[in-house]
């Protein structure tokens, strides 16, 4: 039931072996050194051709992975059909708008009361500039993108345990952290503490660098000055005319800065995944799924819940029930099948794949995450606090406040992403009723933005473990499960392949789903053409 023993496969098992014995990091080093890992990144549109006459592929799920698969295979000449549980395309690519109704598992229903044009992205909300696959399809589908603001120096870092619970601007935290660390390092360097680590010549260069990086004075000290305030902000900024003289601000003390732990918010925008520039579709992330669904309108069957998947020598048959009309289970057939149903759900569907792929499916739980959107009567974060997009970080359970990256300066209402949580905090958030999620989030938000109390209008909260079509946020791989099961989840098992973010090394990103689907259709196509 597994793939033929081609060169690629034996290389893959070599990597798996390295992964098992030496750890995943060494495995990827080995893969990279053989220019193998690089094969999975987007290299421009794929061109498949020469599908055997009448060959068909049944696709399960109409998220990114299912729709990329269907689009590319149809273009190559295959007959494709998609079965989709929801009454819409997009899967986790999804936005909630005013007028929408969302019922989560357990039957809790929310009626979204947002104004026209306002939305919450319960799932994906930002696209890195290097996610070339997603960006390719966005352009292909004619979906307009705009900047997503990730890092805002004027947003806050907030700790209930520091500075009397008063938030600090991100720029103050970063400037003071950099400044003090630069001061400390240059002090030890000048005392000879680093003599063994750097040459004398390099030491001089480094000292100059530290002075520049930390905005230090001529004595290599981080002191209250115009130079310093140029980083952390002024008490009274430079102006024009009579009142123009700037007054520098007071830095946090070194001790307070360290103790506050606010510095731990600094790294949040440094990782490759979220480095500027980032993008979002105009009108909500869900615009992408919607546009893709339109493109594939005649091949998607909605309201179709797959309950059984069987393959034999002649093809693959999926049994499904119509969730609206009900009635007896029906079947759909394809010569081959690409199944993009999340592993959480798939682990509960009978499917006759081999033991290795079944083990991969059964050992992939989905992580917790919640998002809460609060509509405010006015955009007070812009009007009162000059915060235009970006993220505030807090130690409260809501963890983040994301400000909208669009409609700046617009009068009227706006929607804050007022909670975005992971880990055990998200588990607890999911266990609340939707109304409680909204209420708690409002309380946390008001500790940072007191205006929220009076400006609050309506809200909606989504806990991903209660999302009926995924039972979770994303495939929760560990190093151990990657080593044990990753190659098996990527395999061609007879006539079945799996695709989705869970079949990628970029889990919980749309690009992972896209790249996984592109890899699946290319490998499946050559498998079919070679076998025909």
């Amino acid at each position: 039931m597994t793939e033929d023993l081609s060169g690629a496969i034996s290389r893959r098992s070599l990597f798996a072996m390295i992964g098992k014995t030496a750890g995943i990091a060494v495995m990827y080093e080995a893969m990279a050194s053989m220019a193998y890992a690089a094969e999975s990144t987007f290299k421009g549109p794929i061109k498949l051709a020469g599908a055997p006459m009448g060959a068909s592929v049944l696709i399960l799920g109409s998220g990114w992975a299912g729709m990329v698969s269907a689009y590319e295979l149809r273009k190559a000449g295959y007959k494709v059909q998609i079965l989709e549980y929801n009454n819409r395309a997009g899967g986790r690519n999804w936005s909630l708008y005013g007028g929408d109704t969302y019922t989560e598992l357990g039957g809790f229903t929310q009626h979204v009361g947002f104004d026209k044009g306002l939305y919450l992205n319960p799932g994906p909300w930002r696209i890195p500039h290097h996610h070339r696959g997603v960006l390719h399809y966005a352009q292909l589908l004619g979906v307009q993108l705009e900047p997503f603001i990730q890092l805002n120096y004027n947003a806050y870092v907030h700790s209930t345990a520091a500075f009397g619970g008063k938030p600090k601007r991100y720029r103050e935290v970063e400037a003071d952290f950099d400044g003090y660390i630069a001061e400390l390092l240059s002090k030890s360097m000048r005392q000879g503490a680093l003599d063994q680590a750097v040459t004398k010549e390099d030491r001089e260069i480094l000292l100059a660098a530290l002075k520049n990086w930390g905005a230090l004075d001529n004595n290599y000290a981080y002191t209250k000055s115009e130079k310093q305030s140029d980083r952390r902000g002024f008490l009274h900024p430079p102006g024009g005319g009579m009142d123009a003289m700037p007054i520098p601000s007071d830095p946090l003390s070194l001790d307070d800065m360290i103790q506050s732990r606010m510095w731990s918010a600094i790294g949040a925008s440094k990782s490759y995944d979220v480095q500027q520039t980032m993008f979002q579709p105009v009108g909500g992330m869900g615009m992408l799924g919607k546009a893709f669904g339109k493109e594939l309108a005649d091949v998607i069957r909605f309201n179709s819940k797959v309950i059984d998947i069987k393959q034999d020598a002649s093809g693959v048959t999926a049994t499904y029930v119509d969730t609206v009309k009900g009635g007896a289970p029906q079947t759909a057939h394809g010569d081959y099948c690409i199944c993009t149903i999340p592993a959480s759900v798939l682990s509960q569907i009978p499917i006759n794949v081999g033991a290795p792929m079944q083990a991969a499916i059964n050992n992939l739980p989905y992580s917790a995450s919640t998002k809460v959107g609060l509509q405010m009567k006015r955009r007070f974060w812009e009007e009162d606090e000059a915060i235009y997009g970006g993220i505030t970080y807090t130690d409260q359970p809501n963890r983040m406040i994301g400000y909208p990256s669009s409609d700046f300066f617009k009068k009227g209402k706006g929607v804050l992403l007022a909670a975005y949580t992971f880990g055990s905090g998200a588990v607890e958030y999911t266990a609340m009723s939707p109304a409680e999620r909204v209420q708690k989030t409002l309380d946390y938000t008001a500790n940072i933005h007191p205006q929220a109390r009076t400006e609050f209008d309506t809200g909606v909260g989504v806990g991903w473990h209660r999302v009926p079509f995924t039972l979770g946020c994303a495939g929760s791989w560990t190093e151990a499960t990657r080593a044990a099961h990753y190659k098996d989840i990527c395999a061609i098992d007879g006539r079945i392949m799996l695709a989705g973010e869970h079949v990628s090394m970029i889990p919980a990103w749309q690009e992972g789903a896209v790249l996984s689907a592109l890899d699946a259709v290319q490998r499946l196509h050559s498998h079919i053409v070679q076998g025909a």
């Binding site: 598992l105 357990g106 039957g107 994906p124 909300w125 930002r126 870092v157 700790s159 345990a161 390092l185 030890s188 503490a193 680093l194 003599d195 063994q196 680590a197 360290i258 732990r261 606010m262 510095w263 731990s264 949040a268 995944d273 819940k305 592993a343 959480s344 759900v345 509960q348 059964n362 739980p365 989905y366 992580s367 917790a368 995450s369 807090t394 130690d395 963890r399 983040m400 992971f422 880990g423 055990s424 905090g425 588990v427 607890e428 266990a431 209660r466 999302v467 009926p468 079509f469 039972l471 979770g472 946020c473 994303a474 929760s476 791989w477 560990t478 151990a480 889990p507 919980a508 990103w509």
Partner: protein, 135 residues
Amino acid sequence: MRKLSFLIAGAAVAALSGTAFAQFASGYSWKTGPEIYTHVCQGCHMPDGKGATGAGMYPALAGNRKLASPLYPVLVMLKGQKAMPSFSDLTDDQIAAVANYVRGNFGNSFPGTVTAEQVKALRAQAVQQQMRAPG
């Protein structure tokens, strides 16, 4: 050199203890069975313990005969099971408390109790959770 390694070691410790803004929290503060059930388990098994069904499902714990075996829920929590992630970040006491709670409520009244010592003895089988934030 010593100073530098001190600084680096210090930074690593701080990163671990700097949980204030760590996007990923693990562990729970709740003590009693009903508290733990309400703040952890009911996200999936629902407030009434009856589970739920969508494209996939969460099984009912109410009237679930598999709970007759006292250590079964303990192992499910420590190891996870298919779409249920492991809850190995619950303490031995917490796992015992919530196991006893689900075995004795929601219409269940299975004999026997679970102790923290029994949980501890099964810890070696615990499965670690992944700590990676989504996009």
